[in-house]
């Protein structure tokens, strides 16, 4: 009975299930699907999945309730949220509640594939951590958690308040480890507006995948780190200090920072 799958797709639209099935099968993944969240939860109790892709707007049990249920049941499979109603609130709420990524609909094949590949790597790293901590062998540090006073959006980007009122934005070490080898970084221009939960930068890894970075806060870019554009390795070497991406003037930092996960909660 107990089958092994790579991906579980939950969406109330059959066409999306079909599309994802096709895209992922071609890449060699084993895909299972469900048209509603209740059925998916039953499947989760029977089978194991490496990653789940879940729609938010669904009749009966919606994506957020499903996400809460997986966390309550301690299901280790990471969840990627998608929705046609792609608002800032949905994006930030998904990531705050434990989803590892948020992909607004409509998405291209590559966008969802890259996110799934990252998710699979993320779950491998999580497995490695649990295996090393069970062996009581702390000598190999897998990734550096973000400093205590920082805030993070999901596990991907961090924000840090400066004394002057501006905010620094960067990428977490875990995300960099998931992406693996960096090749190119694409940043927005100075004076452009970035919005919380929306794309603010793109990372290209050596395997040719493009990874969108979601901004942790809304604001106007007043400075960007030209150093990392010249020498991308700085990010990998020092993601939390020298490897920052933007300095922004936030528009609503007080409210927005509350929607982020404080990094102090990662310490144990």
């Amino acid at each position: 009975m107990n089958k092994q799958f790579d991906i579980l797709v939950i969406d109330d639209e059959q066409v999306i299930i079909d599309a994802l099935n096709k895209i992922c099968s071609t890449e060699g993944f084993r895909v299972d699907s469900s048209i509603e969240a209740k059925e998916a939860l039953e499947k989760l109790s029977r089978n194991s999945y490496k990653i789940i892709v879940c729609d938010i707007m669904m009749p009966d049990v919606d994506g957020f309730e499903f996400l809460d249920e997986t966390i309550k049941r301690k299901i280790s499979s990471p969840v990627i949220m998608t929705t046609g109603y792609s608002t800032v609130e949905n994006s930030v709420r998904s990531l705050y509640n434990g989803a590892i990524d948020f992909i607004p609909k409509p998405f291209t094949a590559d966008e969802i594939l890259n996110s799934i590949i990252r998710g699979l790597r993320f779950s491998e790293i999580q497995k490695k951590i649990s295996s090393t901590s069970s062996e009581k062998n702390d000598s190999t540090i897998i990734y550096v958690p973000c400093p205590a006073k920082y805030f993070r959006l999901g596990y991907s980007s961090w924000a840090s308040e400066e004394n002057t009122g501006s905010i620094l934005i960067g990428i977490t070490d875990l995300f960099l480890k998931v992406v693996e080898s960096l090749e190119e970084l694409d940043l927005y221009k100075i004076d452009e507006e970035i919005i919380q939960g929306n794309q603010c930068a793109a990372l290209k890894s050596k395997d040719g995948l493009v990874h969108n970075i979601l901004s942790p806060v809304t604001g106007r870019i007043i400075e960007r780190n030209e150093e990392v554009l010249k020498e991308i390795n700085i990010i990998e070497k020092d993601p939390y200090f020298n490897g920052w991406l933007y300095r922004v003037i936030p528009s609503e930092s007080e409210y927005e920072l509350k929607q982020l996960i404080p990094c102090s909660s990662d310490r144990f």
């Binding site: 639209e13 066409v15 999306i16 599309a19 994802l20 096709k22 895209i23 071609t26 707007m57 929705t83 046609g84 109603y85 792609s86 608002t87 607004p104 609909k105 409509p106 998405f107 291209t108 094949a109 590559d110 969802i112 004076d191 507006e193 106007r220 003037i249 528009s251 609503e252």
Partner: protein, 624 residues
């Protein structure tokens, strides 16, 4: 006159009536009392005189002891209708003469009430004042009242020396004359005047009540009813009802503040209506976005998947790339629709006006193309960013462009949008939003607007009388109300509420030497102006000191049907629409509100069948 039972009116009339009744009642009571007292005193006086006359006229006959003659005199006097009895009583109490023959020879009791005044101490008193000698009594109950007067007959030399030797020298009082007079006539008179006074009192009270009710109706009931009618109108949702009553009393002030209140209320409701519209549009957009995004996901995933799988088929790739590109474009359009609809609390941020204009255009570009409208953009690429609420500004531009497209109609035309950075002196454009007199009365009059802005209300007192002038609220523009053309030399500008002078005594206009006046603009110093209209000199130091300011100018013109001159002044008023049933009439007034909220100005110029141009000026730095 139609009798309306209005509670407050009838209460007032009742209270006034009762007060009048009480006052007049008390007054009448004392009046009747003093009147009857003086009447009685008069009767008393004449009775006393009569007694004296009787005593003196019978004196000689007494001396001669001519009893028949005395009898005759007394009888004659006693026959007068007002005189009841005339009696002479001797010392021992026997009636010796009487107008009633039957009484002669009878004895009177010394203890009788009429005698008691003198005989109380058994020894007769010799002299008594008139009051003590009179008595008022009813001989038989229910008979008319009677006044009795007793006059003593004193012993004199001639009496004891008379031949009859009837009296001795030692006697002082020889007897008394007792006259009783009927008070029937007097009582009738008193009754008559009582009646008169009561009739007067009743007439006075009724007349007073009518007068009071007339004025209460005029001053209280009518305006209160008008107010009531107005509140009822507001209650059923008609916020455009205006009380026309322009009286100067407290109720007039109440009516004015009521008008002001409903106006504010209707503005607030308008905003609410607008935000409600935006909210339902938001819900609609959200629903549409969700519904469209799902099928779009199908298209985008399959097409991009195919694109990946056909890398060695360049012909197919080209076509697939078009599908992917156009689907991505649809994705952006839906996203911008969502962003537009999600109009949250007004928040001002640094933003690029050009970008907002471009975003607005992208939302309605299709509609313009369908209507054959050509769009000319002439945006200055070097504009600095400006602190605005991007969503609200986008609403402004979308509304203006839609209006322009509507004005052009189906036949086609051109809409031109240009932006520029300009520098303007504050003179001629700064809007005075607050003004107060030295006693802190508000001078802004929301009821009289000049070019859409509430005017400043001033009173002019001169030898020609008093006048109200509505002062143009734009610094240096001088579009005042046309009530007065030139002020007399003795004219004074005062506050219309407290009449405290606004004149500046020691200064003269630096341009023409006429007297000048000023008022305070809260937190922005003093505003001075020349009283001579043809001069038009004004000074506002606080604003002048800030110097010239930079503005972003946005010009939006169309080649549409234009707006008639008489409509131009009204287009920014709420519910004013030239679109008939099509529009809500809210657009331009909301736009005006948004621009005003950004301390900017919006102007309109139009020519029928040639087109309309809206010019918006947004200040770069924020003012208080």
């Amino acid at each position: 006159m139609k009798m309306m039972v209005t509670k407050i009116g009838s209460k007032l009339i009742l209270v006034v009536g009762i007060t009048a009744l009480l006052t007049i009642g008390i007054f009448s009571y004392f009046n009747i009392r003093s009147h009857s007292a003086s009447l009685l005193a008069e009767v008393e006086q004449s009775a006393n005189q009569l007694s004296e006359t009787v005593i003196h006229s019978t004196r000689y006959d007494m001396l001669l002891n001519q009893r028949d003659r005395i009898n005759k005199i007394i009888n004659t006097i006693g026959e007068q209708p007002s005189i009841r009895t005339v009696r002479v009583i001797n010392k021992s109490g026997a009636i010796i003469y009487s107008s009633h023959q039957g009484d002669i020879g009878m004895l009177v009791d010394k203890n009788e009430e009429s005698c008691y005044a003198c005989h109380a101490a058994n020894k007769p008193l010799e002299r008594l004042p008139i009051k003590g000698r009179t008595r008022i009594f009813r001989p038989v109950p229910a008979s008319p009242r009677v006044l009795g007067i007793i006059s003593p007959i004193y012993n004199e030399e001639s009496c004891w020396q008379a031949d009859c030797h009837a009296h001795q020298k030692s006697q002082t009082v020889l007897g008394v004359l007792d006259i009783t007079i009927s008070l029937e006539e007097v009582d009738k008179q008193i009754q008559k005047s009582e009646m008169e006074i009561i009739i007067f009192a009743i007439t006075a009270v009724i007349a007073l009540s009518f007068i009071i009710s007339f004025f209460v109706r005029r001053w209280v009931v009518k305006p209160v009813n008008e107010l009531l009618k107005a509140t009822n109108q507001v209650g059923v949702g008609n916020l455009n009802y205006i009380i026309k009553d322009k009286r100067k009393d407290e109720l007039g002030m109440l009516a004015r503040s009521f008008n002001n209140m409903t106006q504010k209320l209707s503005e607030a409701r308008m905003q609410l209506f607008q935000s409600d519209k935006m909210a339902s549009l938001g819900r609609l957009a959200a629903g549409v976005a969700h519904e469209i995004n799902n099928p779009l996901t199908g298209v985008l995933t399959y097409s991009s998947f195919l694109l990946k799988r056909t890398e060695n088929n360049p012909e197919l790739q080209e076509d697939l790339k078009v599908i992917v590109r156009e689907t991505k474009r649809s994705r952006e359009i839906v996203k911008s629709l969502l962003d537009f609809a999600r109009q949250s609390v007004p928040k001002k941020n640094e933003a690029d006006i050009n970008e907002i204009i471009n975003r607005s255009i992208s939302v309605i570009e299709n509609q313009l193309t369908i209507n054959h409208v050509k769009l000319n953009k002439n945006l200055n690429a070097n504009l600095p960013t400006i602190t605005v609420d991007a969503n609200q500004m986008q609403q402004v531009f979308i509304n203006l462009i839609v209006n322009a497209a509507d004005a052009i109609g189906q036949s086609g035309g051109t809409i031109s949008i240009s932006t520029a950075l300009i520098t303007l002196s504050p003179y001629g454009i700064t809007h005075i939003k607050k003004a107060i007199c030295p006693k802190r009365h508000d001078l802004i009059d929301n009821e009289y607007k000049i070019d859409g802005m509430p005017s400043i209300k001033l009173k002019i007192i001169s030898s020609l009388g008093e006048n109200i002038v509505h002062f143009d609220p734009v610094y240096g523009r001088n579009h005042h109300s046309t009530v007065i053309n030139e002020l007399k030399d003795d004219a004074k500008v005062v506050c219309p509420q407290c009449s405290s002078s606004l004149m500046e005594e020691n200064e003269k206009c630096p341009q023409c030497g006429s007297p000048i006046f000023n008022f305070e603009i809260p937190s922005q110093g003093k505003f001075e102006a020349c009283t001579k209209r043809s001069c038009g000199w004004q000074r506002w130091d606080a604003v002048d000191n800030e110097g010239k300011r930079e503005y972003i100018e946005i010009k939006l013109s169309d080649t549409g049907c234009g707006i008639a001159k008489e409509d131009l002044t009204r287009i920014f008023e709420p519910f004013y629409s030239t679109k008939g049933q099509k529009g809500t009439g809210l657009g331009l007034s909301v736009i005006w509100g948004i621009i005003d909220n950004h301390n900017g100005t919006i102007k309109v110029e139009s020519e029928i069948n040639k087109g309309t141009t809206f010019t918006i000026h947004l200040p770069l730095k924020h003012v208080r």
